[in-house]
């Protein structure tokens, strides 16, 4: 019973990322993004930014091509084989 009663206290200690352990990392981030390196904000954060940008652009270009392909296909008269 005693163990059960101490459960709320133990749970809040285990999951207290919000109250105690999290440090304010905003000043560090401000330093990174205020650096005078001429980089635009969408890739100024580092390697992850560049990778995510490249993935997004790849889908954009490939997707546009893909939609044009399907458009051409949709424009074709229906062949009897289908």
């Amino acid at each position: 019973m005693r163990h059960l009663l101490s459960l709320p206290r133990l749970a809040s200690r285990a999951f207290s990322t919000t109250a105690r352990q999290l440090k304010n990392k905003v000043p560090e981030r401000q330093k990174v993004f205020l650096e005078d390196n001429g980089l635009p904000v969408h890739i100024k954060g580092g390697t992850t930014d560049v990778l995510l940008y490249r993935l997004t652009m790849t889908i954009t270009v490939a997707g546009t091509g893909f939609s044009l392909y399907w458009l051409l296909l949709a424009c074709m008269p229906k062949s009897k084989a289908q």
Binding site: L22, N24, K25, Q30, F33, L34, V41, G45, G63, F66
Partner: protein
């Protein structure tokens, strides 16, 4: 930045408007391709692109405001106008569906039995789960206001707790509504009653999910010390949106659930 002699924000060139537009193209053409050619690839690509665009675009706005200091008072004023205009456009969106509902329900046709609710429709009891849903959303309006005041007074822990409670209430509403949808004695295909009910409440439910997501992002930002007691417009925008969602529900409840039953 020491380079500008004005308080306005000249944004860096960004690829996200283009990727977002292409995402819209892929989703719409993808929908047509799904209907006619049974392939969901294009639509899925479009959805992925839209999600990637939203994530990166809003991430960049947070960087520009919180880390680069571009959101000066005049810039913030512009953002406020923008959010107000957006919510106004959403009000008109819902007005259309209310117009449809009142058009059909104020003068019910002979095909419906000349009455509202139409013959054969078993309506939901407005004093059961719908009333609970009303209480849940009203309570969430109180908790989001509590969160705002906590933010303004610099009460970090209270702001986190009340914001968390608001999000939980939003999720509770969604769960209850999902259950109602499953248990409802009528479907979207049940004439104009079904159409107006599920389209109006369905779009509202989608907005609850959007609002809850917006609040969840604010929660994460508050935990990471992004907001100050003077400057927290992202949260205010989320709170405005949440109140809008709440008000739409009140109109839905009174019109469709209560008067329409």
């Amino acid at each position: 930045m020491a380079h500008q002699a004005h308080a306005y924000h000249m944004v860096d060139p960004s690829p996200w408007p283009l990727t977002g537009a292409v995402g819209g193209l892929l989703m719409t053409s993808g929908l047509a391709i799904w209907f006619h050619f049974h392939s969901t690839t294009l639509m899925t690509l479009g959805l992925m692109l839209l999600l990637l665009t939203m994530y990166q675009w809003w991430r960049d706005i947070i960087r520009e405001g919180t880390f680069q200091g571009h959101h000066t008072p005049p810039v913030q004023k512009g953002l406020r106008y923008g959010m107000i205009l957006f919510i106004t456009s959403e009000v008109f969106f819902f007005l259309g569906f209310f117009w449809a509902f009142y058009h059909s329900s104020l003068a019910p046709t002979p095909e419906l039995g000349g009455c509202w609710p139409p013959t054969g429709i078993i309506t939901l009891d407005p004093f059961e789960v719908p009333l609970l849903n009303t209480a849940v959303l009203l309570a969430s309006g109180v908790t989001v206001t509590w969160a705002h005041h906590s933010l303004m007074e610099g009460e970090r822990k209270q702001a986190i707790q009340s914001l968390a409670l608001t999000i939980l209430l939003g999720l509770y509403f969604t769960a209850l509504q999902a259950m109602e949808y499953y248990e409802a004695p009528f479907t979207i295909a049940d004439g104009v009653y079904g159409s107006t009910f599920f389209v109006a409440t369905g779009f509202h439910g989608l907005h609850v999910i959007i609002g809850s997501s917006f609040l969840a992002v604010c929660f994460l930002r508050q935990v990471q010390y992004h907001f100050t007691s003077e400057h927290h417009f992202g949260f205010e925008a989320a709170a405005w949106y949440w109140h809008f969602v709440d008000v739409v529900w009140l109109f839905l409840y009174v019109s469709i659930y209560w008067w329409g039953s």
